[in-house]
């Protein structure tokens, strides 16, 4: 069974540009989570989608947004990139809304110059 996949692996953008990160959950999983992990720091919760709906949002500005598609894959968009947005962005999936066991993808390393 394929795990969570993320694309691209690496992304280099300049300040002010927009970035789009993609995530495909494990087959059968309906919940998708996005996290930001700056170098050497912990995981900061960004967004949680389940069945196409945004269920919860972390303490991030509105320029961080996303969506979940009917096939449960998800997209994270970051507008007006700032240098401090450079981080590893991790996507995770879980079986459903009530399960807290999360399975993570390898991440997308976003570098803003």
């Amino acid at each position: 069974e394929a795990g969570v996949t993320q694309s691209p692996t690496h992304l280099i953008k300049t300040r002010g540009q927009q970035a789009t990160l993609r995530c495909s959950p494990i087959s059968g999983h309906t919940s998708v989570y996005w996290y930001q992990q700056a170098l050497g720091l912990g995981l900061q919760f960004l967004l949680w989608y389940d069945e196409g709906e945004e269920r919860n949002r972390g303490n991030f500005p509105p320029r961080f947004s996303g969506r979940q598609f009917p096939n449960y894959s998800s997209e994270l968009n970051v507008n007006a990139l700032e240098l401090e947005d450079s981080a590893l962005y991790l996507c995770a999936s879980s079986v459903d809304f009530g399960s807290y066991e999360q399975y993570f993808g390898p991440g997308t390393r976003l570098t803003v110059t």
């Binding site: 969570v4 912990g42 919760f45 269920r55 807290y100 066991e101 993570f104 993808g105």
Partner: protein
């Protein structure tokens, strides 16, 4: 405010030694998960503890959930270099759907 505090923050030990990592909170959690993360990769789920006082063993790793479901510990027996990584506890407080990660314990096992 960090709801899940882990200690120690860093730990460097020799291969073969035993160690314990703690995850503490003043809040009650419906369950807690433990993950291990290696540099540049996503965390990998190790275990879920649900019942207060529960003990789960995964080979040389022993996980315990506190009786009041506010804390948890991870004990590693005879550590190996392959145990090196960042250990994270995580969970959602009872009555909420906000999932949070602990501050992390960075373990290095030396050969």
């Amino acid at each position: 405010t960090q709801l899940l505090e882990q200690s120690p923050q860093f730990l460097s030990i020799q291969e073969g030694e035993n160690l314990t990592v703690y995850c503490n909170s003043s809040s009650v959690f419906s369950s807690l998960q433990w993950y291990r993360q290696e540099p540049g990769e996503g965390p990998v789920l190790l275990v879920t503890v649900v019942t207060g006082g529960e003990v789960k063993k995964l080979k040389r790793l022993t996980f315990q959930f506190g009786d009041a479901r506010k804390d948890s510990s991870l004990h590693i027996t005879a550590a190996q270099t392959g145990d090196t990584g960042l250990y994270l506890c995580a969970g959602a407080r009872t009555g909420t759907y906000k999932y949070i990660f602990g501050t992390g314990t960075r373990l290095k096992v030396l050969a």
